[in-house]
Symmetry: C2
Subunit: 221 residues, 2 copies
């Protein structure tokens, strides 16, 4: 009887991705650059939050931003205009995510030497980016009040892989039914170690607390 | 010199998908079932809108709903409870989209004979579902006021492939800066034939117009 060779394509793709991610993570750690991967659904307020965070953190740290989009440089331009920090747009050619190899190639082309904090603003998608480790030290995800408190039940992997979950747009609570306790219970059931923040990127409420957490992570690198 | 065989994997995948989609479309047309693919970002209000639409349309038509999610049967249960129509949950095993083959296999298992309208509530994702024709006669997408008016610039393919674009959550305009004229111009620049509706699925404002459009499409099948 001949030998049957089983090729597990899914596994090998992710294993190769994870090897590259590990190399990126280690290289950035040695360089003293804390690398954060920020993910969310479209329109959750990533760019608005990042601008607020960077304007707090840039007093103390050198910061760079990598903005991933299918097309357009809207967010990179917004961040650069509002913060003055290094802002690089990556157009990923229509893909639904960025993987470790794409991130590593982008980092090779970017002048990131000497940065204390590097932030990847991932493409707006709660599914695919959750599957790809890009080599970050920490993963942050945003979910927002208008999206509803059932999102952890519907996109569990994203909530599982994130070190911090930010519930954004708390200023719109008067307009939407959103049960914070239910949302928190659902997040912690999936990911008991998740740090949860409730903020309004628009008004700035709660943003200082996230900045403090990023500062702690940067110092602990 | 040997012959070089070029395999275009991307093309063949989509060509195979489109063949299956065409067969589904034709089979449903012969059966008199109008098939709509409804897409959006997470939390745009698909389920709330569909419940309102179905409760209008079910007076005249036999309707069925296919709900696609990574996990959970939340939306299928919500639709069934609120409308009483046939509601089927498809759990797609963690994928970011549903393709024509998955849709065809789901339809084989579902009892859809005699339906006038079949609605697929796709997974919440503005990227991947835009690429896969599932065999529907028309594609509808929702975008919502809290997501911002720049979404056509950032997720152009979804806006290009949709026959109708619904701007939802117009009742939240007091809370968000949203430029309807800019949004409409951006949508029509990508897709000049798109039918655009502005609605609040929550209050019901504008929903009758969409129901009328679906009725016209159903009659014209």
């Amino acid at each position: 009887m001949g030998e049957v060779k089983v090729i597990k394509i899914g596994e090998s793709v992710f294993a190769a991705n994870d090897d590259i991610a590990d190399r990126t993570r280690e290289r950035l750690r040695k360089n003293g650059t804390f690398f954060i991967n920020v993910m969310s659904a479209p329109g959750s307020g990533k760019t608005t939050l990042l601008i607020k965070l960077i304007n707090i953190l840039k007093e103390k740290y050198r910061i760079g931003v990598l903005d991933v989009d299918i097309e357009s440089s809207l967010d990179a331009v917004k961040v650069a205009d509002a913060t003055g920090v290094l802002s690089i747009q990556i157009n990923n050619g229509g893909l639904c995510h960025i993987d470790a190899d794409m991130a590593a190639r982008a980092l090779e082309q970017a002048d990131i030497d000497g940065l204390d904090i590097l932030i990847l603003e991932n493409i707006g998608n709660l599914v695919c980016p959750a599957e790809f480790d890009v080599g970050s030290h920490k993963k942050i995800m945003l979910t927002s009040v208008p999206e509803g408190d059932d999102k952890p039940l519907k996109y569990p992997l994203m909530f599982q892989v994130s070190d911090a979950v930010i519930i954004n747009k708390t200023d719109t609570l008067g307009y939407f039914d959103y049960d914070f306790d239910a949302a928190k219970d659902r997040i912690l059931a999936l990911n008991p170690g998740a740090r949860i923040f409730c903020v309004s990127a628009k008004t700035g409420e709660g943003v200082e607390e996230i900045a403090k957490w990023i500062e702690e992570q940067t110092e602990a690198l």
